[in-house]
Symmetry: C2
Subunit: 195 residues, 2 copies
């Protein structure tokens, strides 16, 4: 980032850029390791200027995690032009690739669900709910029924997928395509138990 | 608890009793709400005496969560005299009942997996691993194969069961027996996707 380019950016664009850099840095670091100093250094700006964009370290962390969540929801958004079953497989492929590339960002997001920080927990819960809603609103297209038991199974499946992808990305015991197939087939498999 | 009874207990017995009381109190409270003052009051002892048994509040919280984890593993320990499939169903029934009765204790345990406290995380991880190991060591008895994909599915299934039981206990949308059947059948269902 050179000074000339910096001048051209609006404050909003600048903040966006800092968040993108934050997600990038968080891919290989825990939240604890993602310091304000590191971001300032990597962005080539002063620590003081950084606090012009983020009130404090906590807000910076939350906004980076929120951005990671938005990225995840965007890349896994199903393509409505595909048949329902292929939509799921293609979402799962994007999910696996996102977690592989941004491993620590994703772990920070998932861990947020259980953190002491209410706002981090809210981001994590909202993301999980958005993913579950997407699945359940698509159940009919997958030939599955909308019953209380099926909705419960769909919610459980989101946790299943989360655990599978995080475990896999940490040390892949099977090929990527095999994982994507397992993720895709397991949804119908667990919902079939909710008869 | 009267003074006479207190005198008869050894320090170890006394500590055990305080932990049991802690798990009991945690059933309807978050860890944040489980104060040292409350335990002292409920146990009828002074705050000072309590710190004779637990170094500080953090140690007290950890030991209560550890005790909750031990209780969970004990009550869900399968009866080896039952056929393999009934062992799973009976473990699941004990699991559902434990979470129903000790809801907040269990949530505190599960949340520990993602908490900032390394030791709470260790307790949660060890408990989840113990539950997963129990399942995977029993795969052959359930007529299922031990492959890397099956082990991954079993790990994911532990997260599935966790989410299902916690969601269910918060607001049961289906009868208990239906939940137990879903839990039991879903294990074979997800492992079948790992062919």
């Amino acid at each position: 980032m050179n000074a000339q380019r910096r001048v051209r950016l609006s404050p909003d664009q600048r903040r966006e850029q800092l968040l993108e850099l934050g997600v990038e840095l968080l891919a290989t670091r825990t939240l604890d390791e993602l310091s304000v100093e590191l971001l300032a250094e990597e962005a080539g700006i002063s620590r003081g200027l950084l606090f012009h964009y983020f009130k404090n370290k906590q807000e910076f962390h939350r906004e980076v995690v929120r951005r990671a969540a938005e990225d995840l929801l965007r890349v896994t958004d199903p393509d409505p032009n595909l048949p329902a079953e292929q939509q799921l497989a293609s979402s799962m492929a994007a999910y696996v690739d996102y977690v592989s590339e941004k491993y620590q960002s994703y772990v920070s997001l998932v861990r947020g669900a259980a953190s002491g920080d209410d706002q981090l927990r809210e981001i994590a819960d909202a993301t999980r709910s958005a993913l579950t809603d997407r699945i359940t609103s698509n159940l009919a297209n997958l030939g599955l029924h909308h019953t209380p038991a099926a909705l419960l199974a769909a919610r459980g499946w989101t946790a299943y997928a989360e655990e599978l992808v995080v475990s896999w990305a940490a040390a892949p015991p099977i090929p990527r395509d095999e994982l994507i197939r397992m993720l895709t087939e397991s949804l119908a498999a667990v919902i079939a138990t909710a008869r």
